[in-house]
């Protein structure tokens, strides 16, 4: 079955609503958490999206949703897991992806390339390939190999079973290996032009 798409992109218009009720203590509590965690979440969001503007927007939305549910989530003692879950779900949101594509069209600032001092170009190629993975597989890769979460923790955040995490990770690694075998072991798989 082919998924159909509406071709044009739009930013649905939303305006500010009335202010929600807040208390200074609540806001101070929330701010402390946000300032402590935002850099880490921004980096994760960047790896999930591959785009800095989108990552910043994603994290802002995640914190906004956390803000709306702050008391409940805080009382449950599951803030980190909750906000990561929002991050992944938001990134998978069909509506949001479309919306963001439009915003990027007019605001794109090329991301800087990051170079590992030990990189021989292979790392960059690997990153390019990570960005071609399906959203959910990429989320597994980022949570497992960047956040270094356990399979169980990853499963909980993604709302899937541990078995699915294992199979998604395995499939993602196989895809990376298959698509660019030369990046993983250049000596065994010389490039075409090097032969």
């Amino acid at each position: 079955m082919e998924v159909q798409r509406m071709h044009a992109l739009a930013r649905p218009g939303v305006t500010m609503a009335d202010r929600g009720g807040t208390t200074p203590e609540r806001d101070a509590d929330f701010s402390a958490y946000m300032h402590a965690r935002q850099t880490s979440l921004l980096r994760t969001a960047y790896l999930l999206t591959g785009d800095r503007h989108t990552a910043e927007d994603l994290v802002q939305t995640a914190f906004a949703k956390l803000y709306l549910s702050w008391e409940k989530v805080r009382d449950q003692g599951s803030i980190d897991g909750y906000v990561r879950r929002i991050l992944v779900n938001e990134n998978n949101s069909l509506w949001r992806r479309a919306w963001k594509r439009r915003e990027q069209a007019s605001e794109t600032v090329p991301d800087q390339h990051h170079h590992d001092e030990y990189d021989d170009g292979v790392g960059r190629e690997l990153w390019d390939l990570v960005q071609t993975l399906p959203k959910k597989a990429r989320a597994v890769v980022v949570l497992r190999y960047y956040e270094e979460l356990t399979e169980a923790e990853t499963a909980e955040i993604l709302g899937i079973s541990v078995g699915t995490v294992k199979s998604q990770a395995s499939r993602a690694l196989a895809t990376l290996r298959d698509r660019a075998p030369q990046t993983l072991d250049p000596t065994e798989h010389p490039r075409e032009e090097e032969r």
């Binding site: 079955m1 998924v3 159909q4 798409r5 509406m6 071709h7 044009a8 992109l9 739009a10 930013r11 649905p12 218009g13 939303v14 305006t15 500010m16 609503a17 009335d18 202010r19 929600g20 807040t22 946000m34 935002q38 921004l42 960047y46 790896l47 800095r52 990552a55 994290v59 802002q60 939305t61 914190f63 906004a64 949703k65 803000y67 709306l68 549910s69 779900n89 938001e90 949101s93 069909l94 509506w95 949001r96 479309a98 439009r102 990051h114 990189d119 292979v122 790392g123 960059r124 690997l126 990153w127 990570v130 190999y145 960047y146 270094e148 709302g159 690694l173 290996r177 993983l184 072991d185």
Partner: protein
């Protein structure tokens, strides 16, 4: 091999991200986004309500064509058609729709409404305009282009499958109305909102049994109330119900909301055999197609404006058609016939239109585009 790969992968992910600080967020900016999200959620809930709530039947004094032969002739001259001097052309849509103050029926007949209703219903030869006043809902009965009667609604209303009768809750009483009469099912607790009427049009006790399925907006379990006064919980333990098939056998229902409101699971449930036909956490199940072969669906994680429509086989749960908004969003999604959904859609730079999605995956613009601000749709579908 994988150890080497995962080590390299981990190192590259850190190299890629770890020296980035990003723009610092402020509490004020996060609060602003939170307000926007809250508003979108309200808008989404409102649009669902508008679709679910459209209805009540009253003659509008114009023969729309194809109506019942037994309908009494209008006492007043017919409401003037918008374009009476020209032959009526076929409507572009198989459902009635409102554009501004003009109501267009599937046969192309049009009538001028007293105001630009954001919703309404046409039942046989009768129509009603839905409006909101300070948060209270009303159905205006329109006759000869003017409001003849106004019915306050406690919650919402629902039609039967062929659109010949509706169920409403008014003054704390559950009432079914059809062209030639109405009957009360008695008082109901506050917060119950009709989702679907099964049976009719004549739902009087002498004529036979009708059943009204209602969601409890106060958080209680959905109920079904029948002509005979039976009032019981809907079988299958749903948190809410989306629809009931024409024969009253199948129900779409939400059975679980995931922690943090990050999604929901539901199923198609057979009320007669008390078995699950299929279950899904991938989408939110909505309305059955006429005939009940398919069911429409939205994403499981509903976040503000709608950007997705799916059609599933009602027996297998297999997705047969899928449409991504890709930046467009959808306001009202209704079945046009047994194999097509129509939806009001907004696209930046183009305006509002009605798109049609077929069970074969075909997509086309059925009507429009029409100018209008993006936060107020000029188009409203009066479908089932």
């Amino acid at each position: 091999m994988n150890d080497h790969l995962t080590t390299r992968l981990s190192r590259q992910l850190h190299a890629q991200a770890d020296d980035w600080q990003g723009a610092p967020l402020t509490l004020e900016s996060v609060q602003g986004t939170a307000r926007t999200i809250r508003r979108r959620r309200r808008a989404a809930a409102g649009s669902v309500l508008a679709v679910a709530v459209l209805a009540v039947a009253i003659p509008i004094g114009v023969t729309f064509g194809g109506g019942s032969d037994t309908s009494p002739p209008p006492a007043n001259p017919p409401t003037r058609l918008v374009d009476t001097d020209n032959p009526v052309e076929d409507s572009p849509l198989g459902v009635s729709f409102i554009e501004g103050r003009t109501l267009t029926l599937p046969n192309g007949a049009q009538t001028r409404l007293p105001q630009a209703y954001p919703g309404g219903v046409v039942l046989g030869d009768t129509a009603l305009g839905l409006r909101s006043d300070n948060g209270d809902l009303f159905l205006d009965v329109i006759e000869s282009g003017a409001v003849d009667e106004t019915i306050p609604l406690d919650t919402g209303f629902a039609r039967n499958a062929d659109g010949t009768a509706i169920a409403i809750v008014t003054g704390g009483e559950l009432v079914v109305r059809w062209e030639s009469g109405q009957t009360s099912f008695g008082a109901v607790p506050s917060g119950l909102s009709p989702v679907r009427l099964v049976g009719g049009p004549d739902c009087s006790e002498a004529a036979g049994t009708c059943a009204v399925y209602l969601d409890d907006q106060t958080g209680g379990a959905p109920r079904v109330i029948t002509t005979t006064g039976a009032n019981q919980l809907v079988v299958g333990g749903p948190l809410s119900i989306g629809d009931v098939s024409e024969d009253g056998r199948l129900t779409t229902m939400t059975t679980e909301v995931r922690e943090g409101d990050l999604g929901a699971c539901g199923r198609v449930y057979d009320q007669t055999t008390q078995t699950t036909v299929f279950r899904t956490c991938e989408v939110t199940l909505e309305r059955f197609s006429p005939g009940g072969q398919y069911v429409s669906a939205d994403v499981a994680y509903q976040d503000g404006l709608r950007g997705y429509i799916a059609i599933l086989d009602a027996q297998s749960g297999e997705k047969v058609a899928e449409l991504l908004g890709d930046g467009s969003f959808f306001n009202e999604v209704v079945w046009e016939d047994a194999e097509h959904l129509v939806a009001v859609s907004f696209r930046d730079g183009e305006g509002w239109s009605v798109i049609r999605l077929g069970v074969d995956g075909s997509v086309e613009t059925a009507y429009g585009p029409v100018d209008g601000p993006q936060d107020v749709s000029p188009l409203h579908l009066l479908g089932n």
